[in-house]
Amino acid sequence: MPKISMTVNSKQVSATVEGRTLLVQLLRDTLRLTGTHVGCDTSQCGACVVHVDGEAVKSCTCLAASCEGAHVTTIEGLAQGGTLHPMQEAFREHHGLQCGYCTPGMIMAAVDLVNRKGFDLDEQLIRSELEGNICRCTGYHNIVKAIAAGAANMSAQPVARAAE
């Protein structure tokens, strides 16, 4: 069985996994980082999105062993101590969640979007970039508002981008 090492939320971790162990299983079951959710388990809903080497990926469709040596950031890695990440704060402020199931994936996708496209995001771009994240509660309006606001807040706090 592969022995793997990687950095998860700035901490060095090692584990012995089966070849077939998914990244999301390593995160949730072995490392007990249960903020990352499994929704559809068929790479459609995006509840499991985490960052691998700074890129958003669906952790239900990625083997843990493929992340050997990688830097992984999960939703637990965004807040700094007791202070929410600006994107998390924006979701709270704009009521960008109801049941909260999709929220970790939404926020990780949103931070990735800001990292790729900058702080000034228009509604159309946010909506098209969210096609890999499904929410079954809010109808997306408040999520889109939250992401636009969170992106703007991130520009005021550039340190937030260094969470990778």
Partner: protein
Amino acid sequence: MYAFDYHRPQTLRQAVNLIGRTEDSKVLAGGQTLIPTLKARLANPANLIDLGAVPELRAITQKGKSIVIGAMVRHAEVAESPLVKSAIPALADLAHLIGDPHVRNRGTIGGSVANNDPAADYPAACLAMNATIITTKRKIPVDQYFQGMFTTALEEGELISAVSFPIPSRAAYAKFRNPASRYALVGVFVAVKSGETRVAVTGASNGGVYRWTEAEAALKPRFSLAPIERLAKPPSTNMNSDIHASADYRAHLVYVMTKRAVAKALGR
């Protein structure tokens, strides 16, 4: 997922050796098709050979009048590549239309071309631009490469290392996608190079990607919309039919998407 032995070669040579040494092995590229297939227990390989650590398959380069894209280049990288965007904007456009942002961060051109899903996007680009599929053994002209859905000219143990696209003078991709899966219900790639026009269709036929030769002939004298508008719609024989679209509807979409691709290639 059934259990398998996982291998992570560090070079292409190691990967090829591993395939030769192991029984019943499958090769993992970006995993956006293979991992779901394994999870659904539709495949049960004894060995999985992950190309993720092989560095020499990750480059996008220009060689003469062609753009050469390494097999492990991700869709997001093709979509954002300044070289691809300036030389073959239609190819960057196609890559941007695959899946969603997270899938595009993992999925690779080599995986797509090796799998030859009948609704995948890259096969249409390869066929329309008369690409060459470069493997660990040889260079395969695209007209000999795609051999029906999920079937290619690749032999046992042969790996795609890159795909070489001759830069066309005009090209465009028009895709009518399934809004849930984001696969092409029908996608049409048109490309003009040295006076020759090729029209490649994906998603439509139960034989996989194909060239719509009637449309190519109609566009031969002059690349414009009028000859396509005069053309008869293709017959629905051999078109796929499923819960997403009937064979008739797909045939109709082939016609409409071809018109849209030609218009786009003309800058309209």
